[in-house]
Subunit: 231 residues, 2 copies
């Protein structure tokens, strides 16, 4: 990145990027008879979060997650109970960190970067999901889109992080395993680092912003960010 | 709808609402060994079209459709060839009308409504998909989001239709089998009629706008629109 100024701050997406959503698979296997319905539910959840923001509406991510679970149930003629929705919310709140997370965060901190998170999930009472996963201490701040009542990848979400830290968006590098997140962050002026966790890959098409850094391993991605931005 | 002024114009979504996308299923069955991957591809396509619009970027729907097909292939470790992408685009361009479409359109025309379409697909050279499906003559105008380079459900897309017809958005009723389309249309001031075709259902959650009319059959939906808006 010789034509970009070095970033000081790394912004991490939380769900799936840091925390392992495959721990929700047994719920989907039990309710739908197919663990892979998790992927369909998650895609529909992100789709409708974006729809709400494009429409100038907002509902907390958890309420939307439950509503979309029931919708996917109706689509498949499968009954989704209140208990299923409660279990989903409980599981989302206590996902473990991926094994590559702590080593990557340590490496970035040692290189002098400030680390923060930015999630679509609303703020949570303690212990937070990051605390339960044992990685909260790596982060200086945790941001939620709830503050601007707009979901990622609306530019206001990335601008909120920059503003709260007294920075510009080009001082930030967004790390996410969702291309929609790096697309939005880059459009807002951030650098973008795309982590290709299983079931997450690039879209190579006209006008789709490609990430600055790309790896299937967060430690390797951290090394690329450090190499390009000094540290 | 006693508190709403009667609409003069019915705006139809095209893909899946009027034209039957299940004719793409054999392609997905051949490439992925599972026809239902069609649903995953379509959800990801809509998700990324919304991402592009939220990010102030635009790529024609067909280019995005092909790129997302390759991405879904990578997610599932399935090779997607140039021929597969070409076949997808060809199939999308020649989908048949659902059997309830012509009777419903006839009924609305006879009741005095003006009918138009609004699609995420770019304008097509003749014969257009609506012409090939034999239903083009029911419509006064066909609009594409391509004109504003923003995808539905951005309010600019519905406002474009109203503006081109010298109307306000509250003169329009949007008919779609995608809740994200009626949510956006209603947020922009239109009435919303939601057609629950297979694999499409409501989301009942806080702040999610519920449609004014709801049916699994387009003729029945047309009757509801006529009953509420005179005609």
């Amino acid at each position: 990145m010789p034509d970009q100024k070095p970033v000081s701050t790394i912004v991490f997406d939380v769900n799936e990027t840091l925390l392992d959503i495959t721990t929700l698979e047994p719920l989907f296997a039990r309710v739908f008879g197919d663990a892979l319905v998790l992927r369909e539910w998650f895609a529909e959840l992100i789709l409708y979060s974006q729809t709400m923001t494009l429409s100038g509406r907002y509902a907390p991510f958890g309420a939307l997650a439950g509503g979309v679970l029931r919708m996917v149930g109706a689509n498949k003629a499968v009954a989704v109970t209140d208990d299923d929705v409660a279990e989903l919310k409980s599981l989302i709140g206590s996902m473990p960190a991926h094994p590559d997370v702590a080593p990557a965060l340590r490496k970035l901190r040692e290189a002098g970067f400030r680390l923060v998170t930015l999630t679509n999930s609303p703020p949570s009472p303690a212990p937070t999901p990051l605390e339960k996963a044992g990685i909260a201490d790596y982060f200086d701040r945790s941001f939620s889109v709830d503050e601007v009542a707009q979901f990622k990848p609306h530019p206001a979400t990335y601008q909120m992080v920059a503003g709260a830290l007294d920075l510009q968006t080009d001082d930030l590098c967004m790390v996410a395993c969702h291309l929609w997140d790096t697309i939005g962050a880059q459009a807002a002026g951030c650098q973008g680092a795309f982590l290709t966790r299983p079931n997450n890959n690039l879209i190579k098409a006209e006008n789709v912003p490609q990430p600055h850094y790309l790896s299937d391993d967060l430690v390797d991605l951290a090394k690329q960010i450090i190499a390009a931005n000094g540290g």
